[in-house]
């Protein structure tokens, strides 16, 4: 009975074998989008959801009202973090491929988001990240060794072996615990921000999720609560065009940008070039200011591209053109920041190479150290009976006796 189907099934612009096609992406030239005053009426901000806030133009120059005018030194620092993020990902990917950790997810192509926003937020602001925000943990003080130990589930693992690799958490750094369940952290960020406002503090919260995850209920719950209580929160949608094998249109991104998703609730949306460090930084500062001054939430859509596989469990050449990233009109965030620094005379290819080598070395050294705390095959190992801890604040009797039982069983070995 389906032959006569009139249903519309969204189609990605290119599948394996097709020419990559990003003509669907509506772009604005760098510098073109106006920057509104903090406190402008929400209705007057709607244009921001349709345009694309860009600072870096194709010649690597910073343009227009969103240019945050950062010192070259600060930009060099940013570049270093982005490179470190990439070097870390490269290495961990390789390590997973060697079977030395069970799983991994990269941020390749999206590094500018975590680093720019990490830098634009204050340390007292609380971050509720998704699994591609490792850069946030790094920038906020988590050592590479600690991150690797988490991925190894070894004796220094902050998660004590309980979580899949990459599911970090950092109370100290004000970065929340990553969940395997998509989008669930979004309403937490809003609740956290509401509490901050209730306490009369001026810390804000920020959260991140992917284009695909916007379809989950929690995304909407977060928008609703944020709008109703004008919670001081920045809600980021990282639109990297893909959600595993489905393109952003499957999440409803075809007719209006994700930045517009909150307009119906009166939440301003900023659509930002997600591969442009300066634009992200400026947009985040704007949204943070907006929130901190009591004007409520902002939704930021970062237009970017998932440069690698979804995770170590899939092969993207099965569902999208192999060379799609090369054709992505917003390029590679690392290359673009580098190009800008070179353009303004604050960087060189040579320095860049050296920095990259440094990052790779730093990662190598960390990996050496991390392994000392144990690997999947070699000790020291975590004590399995720790698995009964932290289910509750105090261990109840059923867990105590199960713990004893496991000890008995392990003792028999």
């Amino acid at each position: 009975m389906i032959e006569k189907s009139r249903l519309k099934i969204p189609q990605p612009y290119a599948r394996p074998g097709d020419e990559p096609d990003f003509s669907y992406l509506e772009l604005s030239p760098a510098g073109e989008i106006d920057k509104p005053q903090i406190g402008a009426r929400t209705r007057d901000l709607e244009y921001l959801a349709n345009g694309l806030v860009r600072v870096l133009d194709d010649d690597h120059e910073a343009q227009g009202p969103w240019n945050p005018d950062l010192d070259p030194e600060k930009l060099q620092v940013a570049l270093r973090w982005m490179l470190l993020n990439r070097a870390f990902d490269d290495r961990m990917w390789q390590i997973q491929r060697q079977g030395r950790i069970s799983f991994y997810m990269q941020a390749r192509g999206e590094e500018a988001i975590s680093i720019a926003q990490g830098m634009a937020l204050r340390s007292g602001d609380m971050c509720f990240p998704s699994y591609r925000n490792q850069g946030l943990y790094m920038y906020r003080g988590m050592t590479l060794v600690d991150m690797m130990c988490q991925c190894l589930s070894n004796t220094r693992d902050m998660c004590q072996g309980r979580q899949l690799p990459i599911m970090y958490h950092s109370k100290e750094g004000n970065v929340f615990s990553i969940s395997g369940n998509l989008a669930t952290q979004y309403p937490h960020a809003v609740g956290w921000a509401m509490a901050s406002a209730l306490k009369g503090e001026d810390h804000i919260a920020a959260s991140w999720l992917g284009d695909g995850s916007t379809a989950e209920a929690d995304f909407y719950h977060a928008l609703t609560f944020a709008a109703v209580y004008q919670a001081p929160v920045i809600l980021n949608v990282v639109n990297n065009q893909w959600a595993i094998s489905t393109f952003q249109g499957t999440a409803g991104g075809e007719r209006r940008p994700f930045a517009a998703r909150g307009l119906g609730l009166g939440i301003p949306g900023l659509r930002v070039d997600g591969n442009d460090f300066l634009a992200i930084y400026a947009a985040t500062l704007w949204a943070a200011d907006h929130a901190r001054r009591g004007h409520g939430p902002t939704l930021i859509e970062h237009v970017t591209y998932r440069g690698g596989a979804h995770s170590t469990s899939d092969d993207p050449s099965k569902y999208r053109p192999k060379d799609e990233w090369d054709a992505f009109p917003l390029g590679d965030p690392v290359e673009r920041l580098k190009g800008h620094l070179i353009k303004i005379g604050a960087w060189s290819e040579k320095k860049h190479e050296k920095l990259w080598d440094e990052c790779v070395e730093e990662v190598t050294a960390a990996w050496k150290e991390a392994q000392q705390y144990g690997t999947m095959t070699e000790g020291p190992f975590l004590d399995p009976v720790t698995m009964f801890e932290d289910v509750y604040a105090e261990m109840p009797k059923n867990l105590e006796s199960q713990r004893r039982r496991l000890l008995e069983i392990l003792g028999e070995e």
Binding site: S177, T184, H188, V190, W192, S196, L198
Partner: protein, 338 residues
């Protein structure tokens, strides 16, 4: 000692805790200005303001999700879900987040949310205002599940729940909000005023989570139950003349196994009763545990008296509800066995 019904006791628990601890905030649908559809939060907004007693959008998932975030930021949220039948839209946030946060972050993050929700039938609420879903929560590690059967316990357990750093799902059997109920809807309503457990201290006290209570002492048979059916069990003991011990589980998870098994070892017979549907319900856990620990003391199979395995039908709620008659029949069956 002041007399309170269960609604007043619950309100008083909120009041005591909001007074003592400025981090306690209340949120839910119609809980603020209106004071809740069952009036459990009545007067709190007037006393503590709109910033501590917050009317929420109708989104149970959002309420629980936001409460988790508030808890992470140092507050102690008490969230009301208007009916237990409407808790399911928040189920993912409860199971995947609230219950797991402490574990997955090794204690670095946790959120001490208390979720209160009226449950059970007997008020002509039909299938969407009568459910008892506690058995779905008891299977979820990382949360505590509580159901009081009287005003004294309700207040003491609720204070303990709010103080607990663990998340608690707190079920309130709405049929007994206003008075104990022995399962016979044709009798005139009874008030809590004449019930010993209707005497409730004004101030702070707790009934510890994780402790069952012997609601009636007896030697011949143990009835393990909770919520409304505690009163039905006591009435049925009187009606049948069987010298039954009635145990009020109070906290379903974590379970106070010893109080149960001590009793069954003494009596040798056990009946389990709850209002929720039988199949796969919490009573199964009670039966499984008791048969294992008391096997050599049991003189008869453990039986369950429970809601039928159907939705709760509006017109037949008294044929559905495991009332006095079915409780008596259950007692007799367990007593007759051997």
């Amino acid at each position: 000692m002041p007399k309170m019904n269960m609604i007043e006791a619950i309100r008083s628990a909120h009041d005591v805790m909001m007074e003592r601890d400025s981090s306690v905030v209340v949120l839910g649908e119609d809980v603020g200005y209106f004071g809740g559809v069952f009036r459990c939060t009545d007067g709190l907004q007037r006393k503590y303001g709109e910033h501590r007693v917050i009317d929420a959008p109708i989104a149970e998932g959002g309420i629980i999700g936001a409460a988790i975030g508030m808890g992470v930021n140092g507050l102690r949220p008490v969230a009301e879900i208007q009916f237990a039948d409407y808790i399911y839209p928040g189920f993912d946030q409860i199971v995947s987040e609230l219950a797991r946060l402490r574990y997955r972050s090794c204690g670095e993050f946790f959120s001490p949310v208390t979720i209160r929700t009226p449950c059970g039938g007997g008020i002509r609420g039909g299938q969407t205002h009568s459910q008892s879903p506690e058995g779905i929560f008891t299977h979820v590690s990382g949360i505590k599940t509580v159901m009081p059967s009287n005003p004294y316990d309700a207040k003491g357990l609720l204070i303990a729940a709010i103080e607990s750093d663990d998340p608690v799902v707190f079920f309130e059997p709405k049929r007994i909000y206003n008075g104990p109920f022995d399962g016979d809807p044709d009798k005139p309503g009874v008030s809590w005023a004449n019930h010993p457990k209707g005497e409730v201290p004004e101030g702070y006290y707790t009934v510890p989570l994780g402790t069952a209570e012997v609601a009636l002492e007896g030697e011949e048979l143990t009835i393990v139950t909770y919520g409304t059916l505690v009163h039905v069990a006591i009435a049925a003991a009187a009606e049948t003349g069987v010298d039954a011990e009635v145990i009020d589980v109070r906290t379903m998870a974590p379970l106070d196994v010893k109080t149960l098994t001590d009793s069954v070892m003494k009596t040798g017979r056990c009946l389990i009763a709850h209002e929720a549907t039988r199949f796969g319900g919490y009573g199964a856990e009670l039966a499984a545990t008791i048969q294992k620990d008391c096997f050599y003391h049991l003189e008869a199979p453990i039986r369950r008296v429970a809601g039928w395995d159907t939705p709760y039908p509006h017109a037949f709620e008294w044929q559905y509800f495991p009332g006095l008659k079915r409780m008596c029949a259950g007692i007799q069956r367990v007593m007759e066995a051997e």
